[in-house]
Protein backbone atom coordinates (compact mmCIF):
# COMPACT_ATOMS: atom_id res chain seq x y z
CA UNK A 1 0.00 0.00 0.00
CA UNK A 2 2.86 2.31 0.84
CA UNK A 3 4.39 1.82 -2.58
CA UNK A 4 1.13 2.52 -4.36
CA UNK A 5 0.77 5.76 -2.49
CA UNK A 6 4.30 6.82 -3.33
CA UNK A 7 3.66 6.22 -7.03
CA UNK A 8 0.40 8.12 -6.97
CA UNK A 9 0.61 11.37 -5.03
CA UNK A 10 -3.15 11.97 -4.92
CA UNK A 11 -3.60 8.61 -3.25
CA UNK A 12 -7.29 8.06 -3.47
CA UNK A 13 -8.16 9.90 -6.68
CA UNK A 14 -10.67 7.94 -8.73
CA UNK A 15 -9.76 8.83 -12.32
CA UNK A 16 -11.48 5.86 -13.92
CA UNK A 17 -14.74 6.66 -12.19
CA UNK A 18 -14.55 10.32 -13.12
CA UNK A 19 -13.78 9.68 -16.79
CA UNK A 20 -16.59 7.14 -17.03
CA UNK A 21 -18.96 9.67 -15.49
CA UNK A 22 -17.94 12.17 -18.19
CA UNK A 23 -19.09 9.65 -20.80
CA UNK A 24 -22.35 9.18 -18.92
CA UNK A 25 -22.78 12.95 -19.01
CA UNK A 26 -22.32 13.11 -22.77
CA UNK A 27 -24.95 10.53 -23.66
CA UNK A 28 -27.36 11.61 -20.92
CA UNK A 29 -27.42 15.18 -22.24
CA UNK A 30 -27.61 14.06 -25.88
CA UNK A 31 -30.51 11.76 -25.05
CA UNK A 32 -32.46 14.49 -23.26
CA UNK A 33 -31.83 16.97 -26.07
CA UNK A 34 -33.04 14.45 -28.66
CA UNK A 35 -36.24 13.68 -26.76
CA UNK A 36 -37.12 17.28 -25.96
CA UNK A 37 -36.21 18.64 -29.39
CA UNK A 38 -38.54 16.11 -31.01
CA UNK A 39 -41.32 17.02 -28.59
CA UNK A 40 -41.09 20.80 -28.99
CA UNK A 41 -39.71 20.86 -32.56
CA UNK A 42 -36.88 23.16 -31.48
CA UNK A 43 -33.64 23.06 -29.57
CA UNK A 44 -33.84 24.80 -26.25
CA UNK A 45 -31.27 25.11 -23.47
CA UNK A 46 -33.87 24.01 -20.89
CA UNK A 47 -33.35 20.45 -22.12
CA UNK A 48 -30.13 20.18 -20.16
CA UNK A 49 -31.63 21.18 -16.80
CA UNK A 50 -32.75 17.71 -15.64
CA UNK A 51 -29.67 15.81 -16.84
CA UNK A 52 -27.47 18.55 -15.37
CA UNK A 53 -29.12 18.17 -11.96
CA UNK A 54 -28.69 14.41 -12.15
CA UNK A 55 -25.07 14.65 -13.30
CA UNK A 56 -24.23 17.10 -10.53
CA UNK A 57 -25.68 14.58 -8.12
CA UNK A 58 -23.44 11.85 -9.55
CA UNK A 59 -20.46 14.18 -9.42
CA UNK A 60 -21.27 14.85 -5.76
CA UNK A 61 -21.22 11.09 -5.13
CA UNK A 62 -17.85 10.87 -6.85
CA UNK A 63 -16.44 13.72 -4.77
CA UNK A 64 -17.88 12.07 -1.68
CA UNK A 65 -16.07 8.81 -2.48
CA UNK A 66 -12.81 10.66 -3.08
CA UNK A 67 -13.24 12.69 0.09
CA UNK A 68 -13.71 9.69 2.35
CA UNK A 69 -10.68 8.11 0.63
CA UNK A 70 -12.84 5.24 -0.54
CA UNK A 71 -10.73 2.50 -1.97
CA UNK A 72 -12.47 -0.01 -4.16
CA UNK A 73 -14.43 -0.48 -7.33
CA UNK A 74 -14.61 2.48 -9.72
CA UNK A 75 -16.82 0.99 -12.42
CA UNK A 76 -20.10 0.04 -10.76
CA UNK A 77 -21.05 3.59 -9.77
CA UNK A 78 -20.74 5.03 -13.30
CA UNK A 79 -22.55 1.97 -14.65
CA UNK A 80 -25.46 2.53 -12.29
CA UNK A 81 -25.37 6.24 -13.12
CA UNK A 82 -25.51 5.46 -16.86
CA UNK A 83 -28.46 3.11 -16.42
CA UNK A 84 -30.28 5.60 -14.19
CA UNK A 85 -29.66 8.31 -16.81
CA UNK A 86 -31.21 6.11 -19.50
CA UNK A 87 -34.11 5.60 -17.12
CA UNK A 88 -34.56 9.36 -16.72
CA UNK A 89 -34.46 9.87 -20.49
CA UNK A 90 -37.17 7.24 -20.87
CA UNK A 91 -39.34 8.75 -18.14
CA UNK A 92 -39.03 12.12 -19.89
CA UNK A 93 -40.02 10.43 -23.12
CA UNK A 94 -42.83 8.20 -21.90
CA UNK A 95 -44.33 9.89 -18.85
CA UNK A 96 -42.87 13.37 -18.52
CA UNK A 97 -45.29 14.24 -15.69
CA UNK A 98 -43.48 11.66 -13.56
CA UNK A 99 -40.02 13.06 -14.32
CA UNK A 100 -39.68 15.29 -11.27
CA UNK A 101 -40.79 12.43 -9.07
CA UNK A 102 -38.20 10.11 -10.59
CA UNK A 103 -35.50 12.77 -10.27
CA UNK A 104 -36.34 13.21 -6.58
CA UNK A 105 -36.17 9.45 -6.16
CA UNK A 106 -32.72 9.44 -7.72
CA UNK A 107 -31.63 12.02 -5.14
CA UNK A 108 -32.96 9.78 -2.36
CA UNK A 109 -31.24 6.83 -4.03
CA UNK A 110 -27.93 8.71 -4.06
CA UNK A 111 -28.37 9.46 -0.35
CA UNK A 112 -29.11 5.81 0.36
CA UNK A 113 -26.01 4.86 -1.61
CA UNK A 114 -23.83 7.24 0.38
CA UNK A 115 -25.31 5.92 3.63
CA UNK A 116 -24.57 2.33 2.57
CA UNK A 117 -20.97 3.27 1.84
CA UNK A 118 -20.56 5.16 5.10
CA UNK A 119 -22.65 3.52 7.78
CA UNK A 120 -21.92 -0.20 8.29
CA UNK A 121 -18.48 -0.10 9.88
CA UNK A 122 -17.91 -3.78 9.43
CA UNK A 123 -19.60 -5.59 6.59
CA UNK A 124 -18.88 -8.99 8.07
CA UNK A 125 -20.87 -8.01 11.14
CA UNK A 126 -24.01 -8.13 8.99
CA UNK A 127 -23.67 -11.89 9.04
CA UNK A 128 -24.00 -12.00 12.81
CA UNK A 129 -27.54 -10.64 12.69
CA UNK A 130 -28.76 -12.99 10.00
CA UNK A 131 -31.96 -13.98 11.79
CA UNK A 132 -32.79 -10.32 12.33
CA UNK A 133 -32.55 -9.77 8.57
CA UNK A 134 -34.65 -12.85 7.90
CA UNK A 135 -37.45 -11.77 10.24
CA UNK A 136 -37.31 -8.15 9.11
CA UNK A 137 -37.51 -9.35 5.52
CA UNK A 138 -40.53 -11.51 6.19
CA UNK A 139 -42.32 -8.70 8.03
CA UNK A 140 -41.68 -6.33 5.16
CA UNK A 141 -42.84 -8.96 2.73
CA UNK A 142 -46.10 -9.44 4.59
CA UNK A 143 -46.75 -5.72 5.10
CA UNK A 144 -48.77 -5.29 1.87
CA UNK A 145 -51.21 -7.94 3.07
CA UNK A 146 -52.14 -5.81 6.08
CA UNK A 147 -55.58 -4.19 5.77
CA UNK A 148 -54.97 -0.45 6.20
CA UNK A 149 -51.56 0.22 4.65
CA UNK A 150 -51.59 -2.52 1.99
CA UNK A 151 -52.40 -1.52 -1.55
CA UNK A 152 -53.35 -3.51 -4.61
CA UNK A 153 -52.21 -2.05 -7.94
CA UNK A 154 -52.87 -3.77 -11.27
CA UNK A 155 -53.84 -6.99 -9.55
CA UNK A 156 -50.68 -7.34 -7.48
CA UNK A 157 -50.89 -6.61 -3.77
CA UNK A 158 -47.30 -5.56 -3.25
CA UNK A 159 -47.59 -1.95 -2.19
CA UNK A 160 -47.50 -0.23 1.17
CA UNK A 161 -48.88 3.24 1.53
CA UNK A 162 -46.71 5.56 3.58
CA UNK A 163 -47.64 9.21 3.77
CA UNK A 164 -48.30 10.62 0.30
CA UNK A 165 -46.55 7.85 -1.63
CA UNK A 166 -46.40 4.12 -1.66
CA UNK A 167 -43.44 1.78 -1.66
CA UNK A 168 -42.85 -1.80 -2.73
CA UNK A 169 -41.30 -3.48 0.29
CA UNK A 170 -40.19 -6.60 -1.56
CA UNK A 171 -37.52 -4.54 -3.28
CA UNK A 172 -35.76 -4.24 0.07
CA UNK A 173 -36.59 -7.82 0.96
CA UNK A 174 -34.47 -9.16 -1.88
CA UNK A 175 -31.35 -7.60 -0.38
CA UNK A 176 -32.21 -8.78 3.14
CA UNK A 177 -32.81 -12.29 1.83
CA UNK A 178 -29.43 -12.36 0.07
CA UNK A 179 -27.68 -11.25 3.28
CA UNK A 180 -29.49 -13.98 5.20
CA UNK A 181 -28.74 -16.69 2.63
CA UNK A 182 -25.09 -15.64 2.45
CA UNK A 183 -24.69 -15.72 6.23
CA UNK A 184 -26.53 -19.00 6.66
CA UNK A 185 -24.77 -20.75 3.79
CA UNK A 186 -21.37 -19.57 5.00
CA UNK A 187 -22.04 -21.29 8.28
CA UNK A 188 -23.42 -24.55 6.95
CA UNK A 189 -22.06 -24.94 3.44
CA UNK A 190 -19.53 -27.54 4.50
CA UNK A 191 -22.28 -29.73 5.83
CA UNK A 192 -24.52 -29.03 2.86
CA UNK A 193 -21.90 -29.76 0.24
CA UNK A 194 -20.11 -32.77 1.71
CA UNK A 195 -23.01 -35.07 2.14
CA UNK A 196 -21.96 -38.43 3.52
CA UNK A 197 -24.73 -40.55 2.11
CA UNK A 198 -25.43 -41.04 -1.54
CA UNK A 199 -28.09 -42.94 -3.40
CA UNK A 200 -26.50 -43.86 -6.69
CA UNK A 201 -25.02 -40.66 -8.10
CA UNK A 202 -27.30 -38.46 -6.01
CA UNK A 203 -26.14 -37.14 -2.68
CA UNK A 204 -28.69 -37.22 0.10
CA UNK A 205 -28.87 -33.71 1.48
CA UNK A 206 -28.59 -33.31 5.23
CA UNK A 207 -32.24 -32.43 5.69
CA UNK A 208 -32.15 -30.74 9.13
CA UNK A 209 -29.69 -28.12 7.91
CA UNK A 210 -31.83 -27.37 4.90
CA UNK A 211 -35.01 -26.84 6.92
CA UNK A 212 -34.50 -23.21 8.02
CA UNK A 213 -33.45 -22.05 4.60
CA UNK A 214 -36.22 -23.91 2.77
CA UNK A 215 -38.73 -22.66 5.33
CA UNK A 216 -37.62 -19.08 4.79
CA UNK A 217 -37.94 -19.53 1.09
CA UNK A 218 -41.29 -21.29 1.44
CA UNK A 219 -42.77 -18.47 3.48
CA UNK A 220 -41.49 -15.95 0.95
CA UNK A 221 -43.09 -17.95 -1.85
CA UNK A 222 -46.38 -18.28 -0.04
CA UNK A 223 -46.58 -14.56 0.66
CA UNK A 224 -45.73 -13.73 -2.90
CA UNK A 225 -48.41 -16.08 -4.18
CA UNK A 226 -50.97 -14.31 -1.98
CA UNK A 227 -49.73 -10.99 -3.28
CA UNK A 228 -50.09 -12.30 -6.84
CA UNK A 229 -46.69 -11.16 -7.96
CA UNK A 230 -45.16 -13.78 -10.21
CA UNK A 231 -42.05 -11.81 -11.02
CA UNK A 232 -40.92 -11.55 -7.43
CA UNK A 233 -41.69 -15.22 -6.83
CA UNK A 234 -39.45 -16.23 -9.73
CA UNK A 235 -36.76 -13.83 -8.55
CA UNK A 236 -36.69 -15.17 -4.99
CA UNK A 237 -36.63 -18.74 -6.21
CA UNK A 238 -33.82 -17.94 -8.62
CA UNK A 239 -31.69 -16.23 -5.97
CA UNK A 240 -32.29 -19.11 -3.58
CA UNK A 241 -31.18 -21.73 -6.12
CA UNK A 242 -28.23 -19.74 -7.40
CA UNK A 243 -26.83 -19.11 -3.93
CA UNK A 244 -27.35 -22.71 -2.83
CA UNK A 245 -25.46 -23.82 -5.92
CA UNK A 246 -22.70 -21.26 -5.46
CA UNK A 247 -22.20 -22.20 -1.83
CA UNK A 248 -22.23 -25.96 -2.22
CA UNK A 249 -21.15 -26.60 -5.81
CA UNK A 250 -23.72 -29.39 -5.98
CA UNK A 251 -25.50 -29.39 -9.36
CA UNK A 252 -27.98 -31.68 -7.65
CA UNK A 253 -29.62 -28.76 -5.86
CA UNK A 254 -30.02 -26.84 -9.10
CA UNK A 255 -31.57 -29.82 -10.89
CA UNK A 256 -34.05 -30.48 -8.08
CA UNK A 257 -34.81 -26.75 -7.97
CA UNK A 258 -35.57 -26.48 -11.66
CA UNK A 259 -37.77 -29.57 -11.33
CA UNK A 260 -39.64 -27.91 -8.45
CA UNK A 261 -40.00 -24.74 -10.51
CA UNK A 262 -41.59 -26.63 -13.39
CA UNK A 263 -43.86 -28.49 -11.00
CA UNK A 264 -44.82 -25.26 -9.23
CA UNK A 265 -45.49 -23.62 -12.56
CA UNK A 266 -47.82 -26.40 -13.65
CA UNK A 267 -49.72 -26.28 -10.35
CA UNK A 268 -49.94 -22.48 -10.42
CA UNK A 269 -51.24 -22.64 -13.97
CA UNK A 270 -54.09 -24.89 -12.89
CA UNK A 271 -54.91 -23.08 -9.65
CA UNK A 272 -54.44 -19.37 -10.26
CA UNK A 273 -56.39 -17.49 -12.88
CA UNK A 274 -53.81 -14.73 -13.22
CA UNK A 275 -51.02 -17.20 -13.92
CA UNK A 276 -53.14 -18.89 -16.57
CA UNK A 277 -53.77 -15.56 -18.29
CA UNK A 278 -50.06 -14.75 -18.31
CA UNK A 279 -49.09 -18.08 -19.82
CA UNK A 280 -51.88 -17.96 -22.41
CA UNK A 281 -50.95 -14.47 -23.57
CA UNK A 282 -47.36 -15.63 -23.80
CA UNK A 283 -48.14 -18.66 -25.93
CA UNK A 284 -50.74 -17.13 -28.25
CA UNK A 285 -50.93 -13.33 -27.86
CA UNK A 286 -52.27 -12.88 -31.39
CA UNK A 287 -55.34 -15.05 -30.83
CA UNK A 288 -58.56 -13.19 -31.37
CA UNK A 289 -59.78 -13.40 -27.80
CA UNK A 290 -56.46 -12.08 -26.43
CA UNK A 291 -55.14 -9.73 -29.11
CA UNK A 292 -57.19 -6.70 -28.01
CA UNK A 293 -57.62 -7.90 -24.47
CA UNK A 294 -55.03 -9.29 -22.08
CA UNK A 295 -52.56 -9.73 -24.91
CA UNK A 296 -52.80 -6.13 -26.07
CA UNK A 297 -49.84 -4.83 -24.07
CA UNK A 298 -47.53 -7.61 -25.22
CA UNK A 299 -48.58 -7.37 -28.87
CA UNK A 300 -48.13 -3.60 -28.93
CA UNK A 301 -44.69 -4.17 -27.41
CA UNK A 302 -43.77 -6.60 -30.17
CA UNK A 303 -44.89 -4.11 -32.81
CA UNK A 304 -42.74 -1.48 -31.13
CA UNK A 305 -39.73 -3.81 -31.33
CA UNK A 306 -40.40 -4.45 -35.02
CA UNK A 307 -40.81 -0.73 -35.65
CA UNK A 308 -37.43 -0.09 -34.07
CA UNK A 309 -35.31 -2.05 -36.51
CA UNK A 310 -31.54 -1.91 -36.39
CA UNK A 311 -30.86 1.71 -35.46
CA UNK A 312 -34.29 2.57 -34.11
CA UNK A 313 -36.77 5.28 -34.86
CA UNK A 314 -34.59 7.79 -33.03
CA UNK A 315 -35.11 8.98 -29.46
CA UNK A 316 -38.45 10.77 -29.26
CA UNK A 317 -39.47 9.65 -32.72
CA UNK A 318 -41.14 6.28 -32.07
CA UNK A 319 -44.65 5.41 -30.97
CA UNK A 320 -44.03 3.64 -27.68
CA UNK A 321 -47.03 5.40 -26.10
CA UNK A 322 -49.20 2.89 -27.90
CA UNK A 323 -48.11 0.30 -25.32
CA UNK A 324 -50.24 0.52 -22.15
CA UNK A 325 -48.25 1.38 -18.96
CA UNK A 326 -45.11 1.45 -21.08
CA UNK A 327 -43.08 3.44 -18.51
CA UNK A 328 -43.10 0.71 -15.90
CA UNK A 329 -43.45 -2.70 -17.55
CA UNK A 330 -42.28 -2.13 -21.08
CA UNK A 331 -39.41 0.37 -20.92
CA UNK A 332 -37.17 -2.11 -22.65
CA UNK A 333 -39.46 -2.30 -25.67
CA UNK A 334 -39.76 1.48 -25.73
CA UNK A 335 -35.98 1.87 -25.67
CA UNK A 336 -35.55 -0.84 -28.30
CA UNK A 337 -38.03 0.94 -30.55
CA UNK A 338 -36.36 4.32 -30.34
CA UNK A 339 -32.71 3.28 -30.04
CA UNK A 340 -33.10 0.16 -32.16
CA UNK A 341 -31.42 -3.21 -31.81
CA UNK A 342 -28.12 -1.34 -31.50
CA UNK A 343 -29.33 0.58 -28.43
CA UNK A 344 -31.03 -2.44 -26.90
CA UNK A 345 -27.86 -4.51 -27.22
CA UNK A 346 -25.81 -1.74 -25.64
CA UNK A 347 -28.28 -1.62 -22.75
CA UNK A 348 -28.08 -5.38 -22.26
CA UNK A 349 -24.28 -5.18 -22.48
CA UNK A 350 -24.31 -2.67 -19.61
CA UNK A 351 -26.17 -5.20 -17.46
CA UNK A 352 -23.78 -7.91 -18.55
CA UNK A 353 -20.81 -5.79 -17.50
CA UNK A 354 -22.54 -5.11 -14.19
CA UNK A 355 -22.88 -8.84 -13.57
CA UNK A 356 -19.31 -9.49 -14.69
CA UNK A 357 -17.96 -6.85 -12.34
CA UNK A 358 -20.11 -8.15 -9.51
CA UNK A 359 -18.79 -11.65 -10.02
CA UNK A 360 -15.22 -10.34 -10.14
CA UNK A 361 -15.80 -8.67 -6.81
CA UNK A 362 -17.27 -11.90 -5.47
CA UNK A 363 -14.25 -13.91 -6.64
CA UNK A 364 -11.86 -11.51 -4.94
CA UNK A 365 -13.76 -11.24 -1.67
CA UNK A 366 -11.80 -12.62 1.27
CA UNK A 367 -14.51 -14.52 3.15
CA UNK A 368 -17.24 -16.92 2.01
CA UNK A 369 -19.90 -14.58 3.41
CA UNK A 370 -18.67 -11.64 1.36
CA UNK A 371 -18.29 -13.83 -1.71
CA UNK A 372 -21.83 -15.13 -1.48
CA UNK A 373 -23.13 -11.66 -0.69
CA UNK A 374 -21.52 -10.07 -3.75
CA UNK A 375 -22.50 -12.94 -6.04
CA UNK A 376 -26.08 -12.97 -4.78
CA UNK A 377 -26.50 -9.22 -5.13
CA UNK A 378 -25.14 -9.08 -8.67
CA UNK A 379 -27.27 -12.07 -9.50
CA UNK A 380 -30.40 -10.16 -8.42
CA UNK A 381 -29.73 -7.49 -11.05
CA UNK A 382 -28.95 -10.07 -13.73
CA UNK A 383 -31.96 -12.26 -13.05
CA UNK A 384 -34.32 -9.29 -12.81
CA UNK A 385 -33.09 -8.06 -16.19
CA UNK A 386 -33.45 -11.51 -17.73
CA UNK A 387 -36.97 -11.98 -16.40
CA UNK A 388 -38.36 -8.63 -17.53
CA UNK A 389 -36.50 -8.42 -20.86
CA UNK A 390 -37.42 -12.04 -21.59
CA UNK A 391 -41.03 -11.18 -20.80
CA UNK A 392 -40.96 -8.10 -23.03
CA UNK A 393 -39.48 -10.12 -25.89
CA UNK A 394 -42.04 -12.94 -25.44
CA UNK A 395 -39.26 -15.38 -24.60
CA UNK A 396 -40.90 -16.28 -21.29
CA UNK A 397 -44.27 -15.32 -19.77
CA UNK A 398 -44.41 -11.67 -18.82
CA UNK A 399 -44.10 -10.87 -15.13
CA UNK A 400 -44.31 -7.46 -13.59
CA UNK A 401 -40.78 -6.92 -12.41
CA UNK A 402 -38.75 -3.74 -12.81
CA UNK A 403 -35.84 -3.33 -15.19
CA UNK A 404 -33.13 -2.41 -12.66
CA UNK A 405 -32.23 1.32 -12.53
CA UNK A 406 -34.11 2.04 -15.76
CA UNK A 407 -37.81 1.39 -15.12
CA UNK A 408 -39.85 4.08 -13.41
CA UNK A 409 -40.19 3.41 -9.70
CA UNK A 410 -38.73 4.80 -6.51
CA UNK A 411 -38.38 1.74 -4.28
CA UNK A 412 -36.59 -0.12 -7.00
CA UNK A 413 -34.16 2.73 -7.70
CA UNK A 414 -33.30 3.26 -4.03
CA UNK A 415 -32.70 -0.42 -3.26
CA UNK A 416 -30.68 -0.98 -6.42
CA UNK A 417 -28.39 1.90 -5.53
CA UNK A 418 -28.00 0.46 -2.02
CA UNK A 419 -27.12 -2.83 -3.67
CA UNK A 420 -24.36 -1.06 -5.63
CA UNK A 421 -23.17 0.46 -2.36
CA UNK A 422 -22.86 -2.96 -0.72
CA UNK A 423 -21.02 -4.40 -3.74
CA UNK A 424 -18.57 -1.52 -3.62
CA UNK A 425 -18.04 -2.05 0.09
CA UNK A 426 -17.19 -5.69 -0.58
CA UNK A 427 -14.66 -4.61 -3.22
CA UNK A 428 -13.22 -2.15 -0.71
CA UNK A 429 -12.54 -4.94 1.77
CA UNK A 430 -10.75 -6.99 -0.89
CA UNK A 431 -8.68 -4.15 -2.30
CA UNK A 432 -7.57 -3.17 1.17
CA UNK A 433 -6.37 -6.68 1.81
CA UNK A 434 -4.71 -7.13 -1.56
CA UNK A 435 -2.96 -3.81 -1.71
CA UNK A 436 -1.82 -2.86 -5.22
CA UNK A 437 -3.05 -0.07 -7.42
CA UNK A 438 -6.41 1.66 -7.37
CA UNK A 439 -9.19 -0.65 -8.37
Amino acid sequence: MMRAEAAMPIGRARFTELSLLVWVATFAITGFVAVLATETASFSPTAVVVPAVFLLLMLALHVFLVAIRFRGDQILMPLAAGLTAIGLILVQRLASDLLLQQLSWSIIAAGAFAATILVPRDLTALARFKWTWAILGLLLLMAPLLPVIGREVNGARIWVKIGPGSIEPWEAVKILLVIFFAAYLEEYREILSHSQRRIGPFPVPPVPYLVPIVAMWGIAMLVMVFEKDMGATVLFFGIFLAMLFLATGEAFYAIIGVGLLILGGLVAYQVFGHVQVRVDTWLRPFDEDLRFNQGFQLVQGLYALANGGLLGAGLGNGMPDRIPVVWSDFVFDAFAEEAGLAGALALLALYLVFLYRGMQIALRAPTPFLQLLAAGLSFIVALQTLVIVGGNLRLIPLTGITLPFVAYGGSSLVTNWMLVGILMRVSQVSSRMRGGGPW
Binding site: L20, T26, F27, T30, G82, V353, G435, W439
Partner: protein, 145 residues
Amino acid sequence: MEITFAVLLWAVRIAFLVLLYLFLIRVFTSLQRSLATESVVSARPTGLAHLVVQRTVRGAPRVGDRLPLRAVNALGRDAGNDIVINDEAASAKHALVEFAEGEWWVEDAGSTNGTIVNGEVVRSRERLHYGDELAIGRVALRLEQ
Protein backbone atom coordinates in the same frame (compact mmCIF):
# COMPACT_ATOMS: atom_id res chain seq x y z
CA MET B 1 -34.45 26.06 -41.94
CA GLU B 2 -36.85 23.17 -41.50
CA ILE B 3 -34.44 20.76 -43.13
CA THR B 4 -31.46 21.81 -41.06
CA PHE B 5 -33.44 21.22 -37.86
CA ALA B 6 -34.41 17.73 -38.99
CA VAL B 7 -30.83 16.92 -39.96
CA LEU B 8 -29.50 18.26 -36.68
CA LEU B 9 -32.05 16.24 -34.75
CA TRP B 10 -30.99 13.08 -36.55
CA ALA B 11 -27.39 13.89 -35.80
CA VAL B 12 -28.26 14.20 -32.09
CA ARG B 13 -30.13 10.89 -32.11
CA ILE B 14 -27.26 9.07 -33.80
CA ALA B 15 -24.82 10.81 -31.48
CA PHE B 16 -26.71 9.36 -28.53
CA LEU B 17 -26.17 5.83 -29.82
CA VAL B 18 -22.53 6.47 -30.64
CA LEU B 19 -21.85 7.96 -27.20
CA LEU B 20 -23.63 5.05 -25.54
CA TYR B 21 -21.25 2.68 -27.31
CA LEU B 22 -18.22 4.79 -26.52
CA PHE B 23 -19.23 4.64 -22.85
CA LEU B 24 -19.53 0.86 -23.13
CA ILE B 25 -16.08 0.60 -24.72
CA ARG B 26 -14.61 2.77 -21.96
CA VAL B 27 -16.20 0.48 -19.37
CA PHE B 28 -14.63 -2.54 -21.07
CA THR B 29 -11.16 -1.01 -21.18
CA SER B 30 -11.45 0.08 -17.53
CA LEU B 31 -12.39 -3.46 -16.58
CA GLN B 32 -9.32 -4.82 -18.30
CA ARG B 33 -7.06 -2.21 -16.82
CA SER B 34 -8.33 -2.80 -13.31
CA LEU B 35 -7.32 -6.42 -13.72
CA ALA B 36 -3.95 -5.52 -15.19
CA THR B 37 -2.93 -3.11 -12.45
CA GLU B 38 -3.87 -5.36 -9.60
CA SER B 39 -0.80 -6.87 -8.04
CA VAL B 40 -0.82 -10.62 -7.80
CA VAL B 41 1.83 -10.82 -5.11
CA SER B 42 2.01 -8.19 -2.43
CA ALA B 43 4.66 -8.34 0.24
CA ARG B 44 3.27 -8.15 3.75
CA PRO B 45 0.12 -6.14 3.06
CA THR B 46 -0.62 -3.75 5.86
CA GLY B 47 -3.79 -1.95 6.72
CA LEU B 48 -5.95 -5.07 6.73
CA ALA B 49 -7.33 -3.55 9.89
CA HIS B 50 -6.13 -1.24 12.65
CA LEU B 51 -5.70 -1.33 16.37
CA VAL B 52 -6.84 1.98 17.80
CA VAL B 53 -5.26 2.98 21.08
CA GLN B 54 -7.94 3.32 23.75
CA ARG B 55 -5.84 3.61 26.88
CA THR B 56 -2.13 4.03 27.37
CA VAL B 57 0.28 4.94 30.14
CA ARG B 58 2.60 7.52 28.55
CA GLY B 59 4.16 8.76 25.34
CA ALA B 60 3.34 8.08 21.71
CA PRO B 61 1.31 6.46 20.29
CA ARG B 62 -1.39 8.38 22.05
CA VAL B 63 -5.03 7.58 22.61
CA GLY B 64 -6.88 7.54 19.30
CA ASP B 65 -3.80 6.66 17.20
CA ARG B 66 -4.32 3.90 14.62
CA LEU B 67 -1.73 1.15 14.37
CA PRO B 68 -1.95 -0.75 11.05
CA LEU B 69 -2.09 -4.51 11.29
CA ARG B 70 -0.48 -7.13 9.09
CA ALA B 71 -1.69 -10.68 8.59
CA VAL B 72 0.32 -11.88 11.60
CA ASN B 73 1.20 -9.48 14.40
CA ALA B 74 3.23 -10.17 17.50
CA LEU B 75 2.49 -7.91 20.45
CA GLY B 76 4.70 -7.50 23.51
CA ARG B 77 7.42 -5.56 25.32
CA ASP B 78 10.30 -7.00 23.30
CA ALA B 79 11.61 -4.73 20.51
CA GLY B 80 11.21 -7.60 18.03
CA ASN B 81 7.45 -7.41 18.14
CA ASP B 82 5.33 -5.88 15.39
CA ILE B 83 3.57 -3.76 17.95
CA VAL B 84 5.77 -2.98 20.90
CA ILE B 85 4.01 -2.35 24.19
CA ASN B 86 6.59 -0.87 26.51
CA ASP B 87 4.64 -1.30 29.72
CA GLU B 88 6.02 -3.17 32.74
CA ALA B 89 2.81 -5.15 32.97
CA ALA B 90 3.29 -6.54 29.44
CA SER B 91 5.38 -9.65 28.79
CA ALA B 92 8.22 -9.74 26.27
CA LYS B 93 6.14 -11.95 23.98
CA HIS B 94 2.62 -11.21 25.05
CA ALA B 95 0.03 -12.00 22.39
CA LEU B 96 -0.51 -12.80 18.73
CA VAL B 97 -3.17 -11.14 16.56
CA GLU B 98 -3.68 -12.97 13.32
CA PHE B 99 -5.84 -12.76 10.20
CA ALA B 100 -6.89 -16.16 8.88
CA GLU B 101 -9.85 -17.52 6.94
CA GLY B 102 -11.22 -14.02 6.68
CA GLU B 103 -11.43 -13.58 10.43
CA TRP B 104 -9.29 -11.97 13.08
CA TRP B 105 -7.95 -14.14 15.89
CA VAL B 106 -6.12 -13.44 19.08
CA GLU B 107 -3.92 -15.84 20.98
CA ASP B 108 -2.06 -15.40 24.24
CA ALA B 109 1.66 -16.08 23.81
CA GLY B 110 2.13 -17.31 27.38
CA SER B 111 2.10 -13.90 29.03
CA THR B 112 2.37 -13.40 32.76
CA ASN B 113 -0.57 -11.06 33.22
CA GLY B 114 -2.78 -12.46 30.49
CA THR B 115 -4.45 -11.07 27.41
CA ILE B 116 -7.92 -9.66 27.95
CA VAL B 117 -10.63 -9.19 25.32
CA ASN B 118 -13.70 -7.21 26.36
CA GLY B 119 -12.90 -7.83 30.01
CA GLU B 120 -12.45 -11.59 29.64
CA VAL B 121 -9.17 -13.47 29.76
CA VAL B 122 -8.23 -15.17 26.50
CA ARG B 123 -7.91 -18.91 27.18
CA SER B 124 -6.95 -20.29 23.77
CA ARG B 125 -7.20 -18.91 20.25
CA GLU B 126 -10.26 -16.72 20.12
CA ARG B 127 -12.14 -14.80 17.46
CA LEU B 128 -11.63 -11.06 17.51
CA HIS B 129 -14.50 -8.97 16.16
CA TYR B 130 -14.32 -5.42 14.95
CA GLY B 131 -15.01 -3.15 17.89
CA ASP B 132 -13.56 -5.61 20.41
CA GLU B 133 -11.21 -4.18 23.03
CA LEU B 134 -7.91 -5.90 23.54
CA ALA B 135 -6.14 -5.15 26.83
CA ILE B 136 -2.45 -5.91 27.32
CA GLY B 137 -0.93 -4.69 30.56
CA ARG B 138 -2.25 -1.19 31.11
CA VAL B 139 -2.73 -0.57 27.40
CA ALA B 140 -6.08 -1.07 25.67
CA LEU B 141 -6.52 -1.32 21.91
CA ARG B 142 -9.66 -1.61 19.83
CA LEU B 143 -9.85 -3.55 16.55
CA GLU B 144 -11.20 -1.43 13.71
CA GLN B 145 -11.27 -1.61 9.95
